[in-house]
Symmetry: C2
Subunit: 128 residues, 2 copies
């Protein structure tokens, strides 16, 4: 329960780094070894391994070693969990906008009714 929140912490923190986002993007296209993943980056291997470790700890990536090669693959659950968070926020945001719009419409209606009773110079201006 309280654990789920800190998983979000880790997922967002993991994705805050461009190297790690690039790794995730690469792994979306299919699994790869550590060496293959590290190749595009001008970075010492131990530094790169730290990024892999952060991704594993966050739950975004899983890996297993066979022989001397460690193969990494995406574990999409954590990614979907973060995406869910956005969708929930957007739902709240949109519900609020709907309420706000309803409120504005109500104000507008009241204004129109007032204008209908006491027509003025400005009442002319609205086309529709």
């Amino acid at each position: 329960m309280a654990n789920k929140l800190s998983q979000l912490d880790q997922v967002f923190a993991a994705l805050a780094d461009p190297t790690r986002r690039a790794i995730v993007m690469r792994l979306c296209a299919g699994e790869a070894s550590v060496g293959e993943l590290a190749d595009p980056f001008a970075m010492a291997l131990p530094s790169f391994m730290k990024h892999i470790h952060v991704l594993e700890t966050s739950g975004l990536v899983q890996s297993e070693k066979s022989g001397r090669v460690r193969t990494c693959r995406l574990s999409p659950d954590a990614l979907l969990g973060a995406e869910d968070w956005f969708q929930q926020q957007r739902a709240i945001w949109e519900a609020r906008l709907d309420r706000f719009e309803a409120y504005v419409m109500k104000l507008k209606k009241e204004k129109e009714q007032a204008a209908a009773k006491r027509p003025s110079r400005t009442a002319r201006k609205k086309g529709s």
Copy 2:
């Protein structure tokens, strides 16, 4: 261009902190003053202000001061930008899964054809 990526860095980094996520969630429900936002947190105001500042720098939040009160509101563009990133990754991931599934289906079909020519004990087992 190169700027957009670092905006993503900032947005994800901002969302990696539970205090800041809570602020964003609160602001989804409508704007609020710094004091109102800070109230639920057992934290000194200057510490809290740093979070607000991080959110503003990331583009997630905007604020303006009127009198001695600073009012904060959500600026949904940055949020939507981050959500887009997830959706793009998911699209790539799903396309890859489709290709993988097609590959598996092809293998299965070949196996079935082979089984049809040389029926064996295992050929019985598949229902459809």
